[in-house]
Symmetry: C3
Subunit: 212 residues, 3 copies
C-alpha cells in the first residue's frame, strides 16, 4: 500500500512537472512574441523559461549532464508548447487565468522536485530550500534577461517567497517524520495558496527606498 | 592512409576552430566598441563571444575544467584579435564580407566540434545536436546580453537552424557509417551553404505575432 | 611559529572575505533600490553580487557544490547586509567612501582566494589569474546585467586590471618561493594601491573607437 501511494504521487508529480514545463514554455513563447522575436528566438526563450531553473540548480549541485539532457520528454513538451502557441496564439492569450493557475501549480511542483533533488546531496536544508526556489523561479529570471527586461519577480508579487515558505515547511515536516507523498501534497498546496492569496489581496514586499 | 586523412582533417578543424575563435573575438570587440566600452570591456566581450558557447556546452555536459582552460592557445588568439581590432579598427570594419565568411565557417566548425564532444557522453543524439548548436551560437547570445541588446539571432536570419540542420545530418551520416572526416566536411559545407543561401535569398523564420 | 602565522593570515583572509561579501551585498542591494526592486529582488541581487564571481569560478573549475553552498555563513552575512541596508538606507548611502574602501579590500581578497582555489587544480597560471579576477569582478557584472545596465567595469576605472596585475604578481612571487601568507599580504596591498591610485589620478583604459 505504502509503495503504491508513493508511486502514485510520483506519477502525479511527474505529470505536473511536465504540465509546468509546458506552461512555462508557453509563457516564454508569449514573452518572446511581445518582442517580435522569430520562431527560433521564441523556442529558445520557451526552452530557458521552462528548463533554466532546473539547469542552474543542477549545475550548482554538480549534477551533470543536467536533468533535461537525460530525458527527451522535456524538449518534446517544449517544442509542442511553442507549436501550440504559434498556431493558437489568439486563443492562448485569452487563457490568462488558466495559464496563471497552471503556472502556480508549476512553481509549486518545481520547488518540491528541486528541493528533493538538492536534498540528495549533503547540503544545509536552508541551501536545499534555496535550490527548490531557484528551480521554480530562475527560468523566468533568465527569460526576462534575454528579452532585455528587469526580471518581473524582482518587482512585483509574492512569488519566490511562496516557494521559500513552502520549501521551509517541507523541511520541517520532513524532520517531523512526515512521508514524502503527504509532505509533497501539503507543501504544494501551501505554495499555491500563498501565491493566490497574495495576488487576491495584493500583498507585495516593501522596497528599500520607501518615499518614492 | 586512413589515420593520415584523419590527422589531416583534425588539424584543419583545429585550425578553423582557432580562426573561428579569432573572428568571433573580433565580432565581440566590434560590438563592444559600438557601446563605447574600454579595452577591458572589449576584451571581456571578445572572450565570451568566442568561448561562451563552448563553455556553456562543457558545463551542461559536465566537462570541467572547461576546454579553453586547458589550452592557453584560445586565450592567446583572443588577446591577439582584440589587439588587431584596436590597432586596425578602421580596416577591420571594412572587412565585413570576409568576417562574415569566416564567422560562417566558425559556426559550422564549432557545431561539428561541439557535437563531437557531446557524443562522447551517453546522451540522446537530439540533445547532442543541440549541444553542437549551443557551441556555435551561445557566445553571440551572451555578447548581446552583456551589451544590453536582445540577441540578434532571436530576430533575424537562419543561423541556429543551419547548425541544427547540419548537426542532424551529421548524426544521420554517422549512423550510416560515414567516417568522421568525410562527415565533418559534408556537415560543415551544408551549414555554410544554408546560411549563405538564407542570407542571399533573405529567408527568415516567421514570428508568433503575424499581423504586426 | 610558521603554522601560527599561516593560521593568522588565513583567519584574517576569512574575515575580509566575509567583509567583502557584506560590502558586495550592500552594493547589490543599493543597485536594486535604484531600480525600485522589492526586498526579494534586492536580496537576490545582493546575493549574486556577493557570490556570483565565486560561483562562476567554481563552476568553471568543476568544484561543485559551489563554495557558498557548503558554508551557511555567506548566506547569513548577505541577509544581514540586506537587512542593514533596508533599515539604515539613508546612513548607508552616506558611507560611500567607507564602502569604496571595503569594496577595494574585497576585490583584493576575492582575487587572492579565487587564485588560490584555482591553483589547486592543474591549470595554466595565466588561467588561474583569470579565475582570481573572475572571483572578484563577475558578481558586479551579473548584478549590472540583472538590473539591465551594461556592466560598469566595462566602461570605467582600472578594476579588473588591478586584480590581474595582483594575480600575476602573486604567481611570480609564488614561483620565487615566497610563502602564501607574505605573498597574500603583498598581492592584496598592490591591488588596493593600484585601484586607489587609478581612481585618484583618473587613470582609465583607452577605447577601441578613439575619436568619439
Amino acid at each position: 500500500m505504502e509503495w503504491f501511494n508513493e508511486l502514485k504521487i510520483n506519477e502525479i508529480l511527474s505529470l505536473f512537472d511536465l504540465i509546468g514545463t509546458f506552461v512555462f514554455a508557453i509563457s516564454g513563447a508569449l514573452a518572446a512574441s511581445t518582442k517580435k522575436l522569430d520562431l527560433f528566438g521564441a523556442t529558445f526563450i520557451a526552452f530557458v523559461t521552462a528548463l533554466g531553473g532546473g539547469t542552474v540548480r543542477d549545475l550548482l549541485i554538480g549534477s551533470t549532464p543536467v536533468g533535461w539532457m537525460e530525458d527527451i520528454t522535456y524538449l518534446t513538451v517544449i517544442l509542442i508548447a511553442v507549436g501550440v502557441t504559434f498556431i493558437f496564439y489568439e486563443h492562448i492569450r485569452k487563457l490568462r487565468k488558466t495559464l496563471f493557475l497552471f503556472d502556480t501549480i508549476g512553481i509549486a511542483v518545481f520547488t518540491v522536485l528541486g528541493l528533493q533533488k538538492a536534498l540528495l546531496i549533503n547540503i544545509d536544508p536552508m541551501i536545499a530550500v534555496m535550490m527548490g526556489m531557484f528551480s521554480a523561479i530562475l527560468g523566468g529570471v533568465i527569460r526576462d534577461i534575454l528579452i532585455n527586461e528587469i526580471p518581473l519577480i524582482f518587482r512585483a508579487e509574492i512569488y519566490a517567497l511562496a516557494c521559500i515558505a513552502g520549501g521551509a515547511l517541507f523541511i520541517v515536516l520532513d524532520n517531523m517524520g512526515v512521508g514524502f507523498e503527504i509532505n509533497a501534497i501539503i507543501t504544494i498546496s501551501i505554495i499555491i495558496a500563498i501565491r493566490i492569496l497574495a495576488i487576491k489581496f495584493k500583498i507585495g514586499l516593501p522596497k528599500i527606498i520607501r518615499n518614492e
